[in-house]
């Protein structure tokens, strides 16, 4: 469990980082919190020849709270987000998501952007980012571009990030006032990656659902959104039967994998259960949503 040899770089600017990425191409890996990458290195499942540590680049460790969004730089740890008072007040879903990640020791090092860039299909933050319509900012040789999270994830651990680009921030829009939220997951133990999970946002106006975002995770190569199901929910009167129907519709759309912890059949059915529970809890948290 020792990594293969690599050259370690600690650039102090984004430009320098991009230069190194250009020089080493696919042979390079960015090191943020190391909580996903270092195990891969130690098991020799990843063997980059260049490791580019971004922890000395200034200003990437900031959380900026805008009127309508929380913007998180590439060095911000999961723990920083979890303990940010403004985030707790204005986007409590983020705090709830982060609290489900590992243990405090891991969150002290793991970064928000690292989790999103890594894109584990069972991870909480990518699922939450998708539910919140977040966007990521990436910088490459030709400058900066902004990508919606839904376009960022291509498939299992595959993202739209090019080999010579780094992610510099993620922007989480704050949902409209009164929006209820929920994250539900089944993990074998407290702090494990989810076997299966769901995130839901619900806003009710005049007794009907005005907006809803529904995400299932752990059920495919990437977190999944369900625009058709969401569209059906909007305009309807929320209730148990409606949510069960939505959950069933989502179950039909899923084609998850087996592993040592759960079968595909388990994931599929429990995914539906969690979607229903997430919708119910989000509804309870809505302003004007409680019955």
């Amino acid at each position: 469990m020792k990594p293969a040899p690599f050259t370690y770089f600690a650039p102090t600017s984004i430009e320098e980082t991009i230069g190194l990425l250009q020089r080493y191409g696919d042979e390079a890996k960015i090191l943020a919190g190391g909580q996903s990458l270092v195990p891969l290195l130690n098991m020799r499942l990843a063997r980059p020849t260049a490791l580019i540590d971004i922890n000395r680049i200034p200003r990437l460790d900031e959380i900026v709270t805008e009127d309508d969004a929380i913007v998180v730089g590439a060095r911000v740890t999961e723990r920083q987000l979890e303990r940010h008072p403004v985030v707790a007040e204005r986007l409590p879903l983020l705090v709830a998501l982060v609290k489900l990640i590992g243990h405090p020791q891991i969150r002290n090092r793991g970064t928000v952007c690292g989790s999103i860039a890594h894109g584990d299909p069972s991870a909480e933050l990518p699922a939450g980012a998708l539910a919140l319509d977040a966007t990521v900012t990436v910088t490459g040789p030709t400058g900066e571009r902004t990508i919606a999270v839904d376009d960022f994830y291509l498939g299992y651990l595959a993202t739209a990030l090019a080999g010579d680009e780094m992610m510099t921030q993620v922007r989480f829009p704050i949902p409209a006032a009164g929006t209820g939220w929920s994250v539900q997951e089944v993990a074998r133990r407290h702090g494990d990656f989810a076997l299966v999970g769901a995130v839901a946002l619900v806003r009710v106006e005049g007794g009907r659902i005005a907006a809803t975002n529904v995400v299932s995770f752990g059920t495919g190569g990437r977190p999944l959104r369900f625009p058709e199901v969401e569209a059906k929910l909007v305009g309807s009167v929320p209730g148990e039967a409606l949510f069960s129907e939505a959950a069933e519709a989502i179950t039909e759309l899923l084609d998850p994998d087996d592993d040592v912890h759960a079968s595909a059949a388990y994931r599929r059915q429990v995914a539906g259960v969690l979607v229903r529970r997430a919708l119910e809890e989000a509804l309870r948290r809505c302003e004007g949503g409680s019955r």
């Binding site: 293969a4 040899p5 407290h190 494990d192 040592v260 912890h261 259960v273």
Partner: protein
Amino acid sequence: MTAPASQIGLVGQSVKRVEDPILLTGRAKHIDDLHFPDMLHTAILRSPYPHATIVSIDASAALALPGVVAVLTGEELVNHAGPSRDYGAEWYALAVGKVRYVGEPVVAVAATSRYVAEDALDLIDVEYDPLPAVANARQAIEADAPRLYPTLDTNIVYKKTFSYGDPGRALEGADLVVTGKFRIPRLSANPMETAGVISQFDPATGGATSWSNVQAPAVALGTLVATLGIPMDRARAMVQPHGGSFGSKIALGKFIVITTVLSKLCGGRPVKYIEDRIEHLMASGSHAWEREYDVGFGFDRAGHCLGWRMVVLSDVGATGGPTQTLKALTCLVGPYRVRDVEYDITTAVSNKGGDGPYRGYGPPTHFLVIERMMDKAAAALGLDPAEIRRRNFIQPEQFPYMQPNGVEYDSGNYPEVLRVALERAGYEELRKEQERLRSEGRLAGIGVAFGVEPGGFRGQTGPYREWPAGGSLAPEAATIHLQENGDLVVDVYFAMEGQGHFTFATQVVAAYFGVPMERVRVVSAEPRLTTPSTGPMGSRQSVTLTFALRGACDLLREKLLALGAHMLDLPAEDLGIRDGRVVPASAEGKSLSLGDLAAVMHGKPADMPVGLDLDPSVTCSWTAPPPEDREGSPYLTYANGCHVVLLEVDRETGQVAILKYVIADDCGTRLNPRVVEGITQGGLAQGIGFALLEEYVYSEDGQPLSVSFMDYLLPTIYEVPLAEKAAVVTPSPATPYGQKGAGEGAIHVTPAAVFCAVNDALAPLGVELTQAPASPRRIWEAIQASPSSG
């Protein structure tokens, strides 16, 4: 047997553990903290195949890598070391000719750092010719199954039926026969610290020294002498404090062999090997308890158990034997008054990681089966699970109780332990709470489980005569040095493991001489072949080490009294030891402190009479007398305990939440109640792992799938309830303070309690869980099979 009141003092007090400051602040010198000049580091290339012939090995590129000093293959190793043998199977520390499991060591590299050594592994080219693999015991026992060992014409390494009374008639005559099939997963200990060894061969003398975190030092010495042929007088095995073992550090022989041979090939440079977590999970050689049970239990209408039949098929992987399955024979009937029982064992080898000891050594699965069968009978007869147990208990007045197979239980009061557990749990209220939850459609379950704990392992007597070294006894030694200032230094011959041995050893010696604990220091001494000693295992040290300590105390006392008699000019018979002083029995007149006597012993004035023994050190290597007919119990004491748990199963996701956990147990006199509480909580944690989480999963073709902590799930502090604990004290007649071994009690009962509770939760659905661990997926699948799941 019983200690005089004057020597009890501190014994039984919850004094603070003397181990804690050094262990909790990380100041203990663990094996990986040792660094020697010129030391080399080992990495081991392991088999990627479950079963394959080794066609060729080309290590030339690895040898050419700067920093690599030696490369060792099995073919070279056999020139320096002999094989290990177990029940007809024979293998070497590095594979010779073929590999038998994924993770089997094939080539070892010694290099200037572990990094370089691991880089070198990438450069070794091994050509394998895969053979059909035997993936489990079912396949292994088939007539045409591929064979693992040429020395055996079968994969069955052990098969025997132990039958007592007339189980056939008992079952035929029963009003009710309940049957069950169970599957127990393979699991193992996972201490925080993995195995580690440093070995150094001495080219000048042909001697060798190993430093390691071995749990049983005798095994390390035995490996040096018997397997490596090091002359007895030049074999040294030093032990370092452990970061836990739980059985997994007993069998470190292969690492001692590999590093010693490497050291020899490197001109005597010290060679270190530290097992990493993947290696530990994949191939520690201490996977345990993978078994299938097929059982039938007979009862009369009133719920009295009349007899049973258990057929056990165990899969020990590529290396191992039936020893852990045999241990059930030492607690065969559990706490119950059953006379007609049959225990039928088949043990087969397969192409999976080898079997080895895990805390408890087998009975946890035995009790899981017995306790679940009790619940099934109770349900069929309309009895409360607590009541059916009460009706079958061995009664307090029946002790010492001879089991049908001649293995004796020393003492106990099972009805009282059950009563206390139920009272603490508020059992009646708990059943009402369960009814309330059920009426809301929730799946609440209660488990009430009981187990007995063989403790004070004395050696391979009774059923253990079936072991390879059957018949041998297990001594334990202690040495006491009286220092010049009158303080006492106590040598024990095993490493600090954290269970609290050093603490109770301090208490026992301090109490004996009536000195404060600060004046006694316990240290780990170099184990020696000339001081026979065994080390911790089989819940033995609170019993066996205590005997050794008291034996040494008696020897020192005799010397002190003889010297005191001379100095005080009184007959030795008129003297005693009290409060750290030799005093006249009359308590009047002059007395001498330990320091006064020590000064003389160390100064040895010329006017002392010839013949007075002034050596300030004494050693006692104590061996429990063998049972009279050599068929009696290998254990001196039998603690016992009752667990009561309330849990809830989420009917949609199969998740389990433990809501209440109560333990009442009786390990006789508690030498240190707080220490007992700690080891009980730790055993509970491992039991929760067994019941709900831990499992080494293999693919159908023998590939291990649980090779990191992402997939082999240990319970964390969030999964383990802090149990409410109550003590019942029935002193053992077999020990000086009435104490009983207590190190394994909780892991014996927790899996049964949780498993029974999960099944109780599922009962309204008419489904049953028969396989551990009770994972969400398994529970969910059981629920899906329910006729009422719709």
